[in-house]
Symmetry: C2
Subunit: 311 residues, 2 copies
């Protein structure tokens, strides 16, 4: 029975429910929230009882899966928790705090997010970052549904459900062994690549971007093999097995085996790619998300893989 004017759900229940939804399991949420598994399970039970809704289904591998109603409650819970967090920050009169769950495209994690992490730890010690390595489509979905607070990937600016900030612009380029005949050129012609074996970056949208680039040139590349393993490609390229087209260029120009890799611009020039920070269009950024965005923007000049001087 509802009490007049009183609230029957608690922020703690919402936070535990959100943690379980994000972790995909009771035990994962307990680990992340530093509470017992029974606390998480009890919070979800209480929330379901108070709301009269089934929020999630427990699956065989001790995981949980949200129901449609659970998805809806999650989206609203994220909003409530963020606003409550903002009130707490006001009350303390201190800087941003809380956990930020950020989806990050795999090749941007070591090259961009690690730097941001180190700066966040110094500048905003009360913010806990939780970085999830995900493909672009999963990041878009995650931000939309509230599973992620924000995301970092290429070209998220084209999604109307997201609000975005450009971190830096870059473009697709060829990577080659320094012994490769085409490495002698400062700029590589797409037409000269098509007889060479291509090692295709098999992550969406990299594979589509690469094929679309050749297609726009009226060319069909010779695909030797494909793999989603960024560093496997770099090692094969460094060994002279083939070339690849990458968007990201690590500052370290050696493969794991210590063999050099060179980077060459392409002609015709590929489209511009934008490393983009995104959050949900219909929601204000929390102070912690805003802090992360500022750290990324501050680091951008240092992190951009190409500058204007660069061949």
């Amino acid at each position: 029975m509802r009490q007049g004017g009183g609230m029957n759900i608690t922020l703690r229940q919402l936070a535990h429910f959100r943690a379980a939804a994000r972790a995909g399991s009771i035990s994962g949420a307990a680990e992340r929230e530093h509470v017992s598994r029974s606390s998480i399970a009890a919070a979800i039970d209480d929330l379901e009882r108070v709301l009269g809704l089934t929020l999630c289904i427990r699956t065989k591998a001790a995981g949980i899966e949200l129901t449609q109603q659970g998805e809806e409650v999650l989206a609203q819970a994220a909003d409530v928790l963020q606003r409550a967090g903002a009130i707490e920050s006001l009350g303390r009169g201190d800087g941003p705090s809380g956990t930020v769950t950020v989806g990050c495209f795999p090749s941007l994690a070591p090259t961009v997010m690690a730097a941001a992490w180190a700066t966040m730890a110094k500048r905003h010690p009360d913010v806990t970052l939780h970085v999830v390595s995900l493909g672009k489509d999963q990041i878009v979905d995650g931000v939309r549904t509230g599973q992620l607070d924000c995301g970092l990937a290429y070209n998220l600016q084209v999604h109307p459900e997201l609000r975005t900030t450009a971190i830096y612009d870059t473009e697709m380029h060829a990577i080659l062994s320094p012994d490769h005949p085409l490495a002698a050129h400062r700029v590589v012609e797409a037409g000269d690549l098509i007889d060479q074996p291509l090692i295709l970056m098999d992550v969406s949208p990299s594979v589509e971007d690469t094929m679309a680039y050749f297609d726009a040139c009226g060319l069909v590349p010779r695909v030797l093999t494909r793999t989603p393993n960024f560093e496997f490609i770099r090692s094969l390229v460094a060994r002279g097995v083939g070339y690849s087209l990458f968007i990201q260029r690590p500052r370290n120009r050696m493969s794991y085996e210590g063999r050099p890799i060179v980077t060459r611009r392409l002609t015709p020039r590929p489209h511009r790619e934008t490393a983009t920070f995104a959050w949900r269009a219909d929601r204000e950024q929390s102070s912690a998300v805003r802090a992360l965005q500022q750290v990324l923007l501050d680091a951008a000049p240092e992190l951009a893989p190409f500058d204007s001087e660069d061949g």
Copy 2:
């Protein structure tokens, strides 16, 4: 109606069916086999008609999924095709040929498989390698079901369904920033690590191995965060965010950002880990798989991350 003594299925049908099963789609198989999609589809249709079995279900995303009967036919088809390939090699009197589909643990792809690939291309140009980056359990399953011809991962020798060769032995070690206080020690004590933030390698079985190591020491580490992204961990460690425990040690001792990472042995000594090459226990190796195994064994002294001289 069967003709007396005649065969109603063809090796080509079996090869196309196997390609589709491995690629997970008609179009993927067509791309890999360099034939049209209709050739692949027709081969599967013919095979199903001749055998009177439903081998696969076409799924919504233009993919295919094997039925139980399809799985059984696949296992036998792989055997027939391999023996037929061996006969062809005998007939030509030449070296190994054909496609080898090898499942490879992610951190072994850039550090070990790239070197093997380059040597295979020189020594056995008629063998086409197809490397799939997979977790250990997926490799074991893939080799068992015939989806993979062979696999490379740690400690596959404990699986009775697989026959194996040890490529090299190594052991888990700590990675640290050179500025980390514990980096001053030649060997790091597990007990000194537990107050330090751990960045946990979130790939099975790495996460279980790491926790089991501390558990055996009667210790509970302080997990700062977890990610399956090997290079993200290296970048965070190089930035001094925390330490991690790795089995694999790339020869290149810099993160993608060009920051140094140091490697330290642990005390108590962790269990030995064995980089293992595996194939199905109930099947002879094809000459191409045997050739790959020999290339890995030849390269082992150079590839092993630690030698006896090494701190």
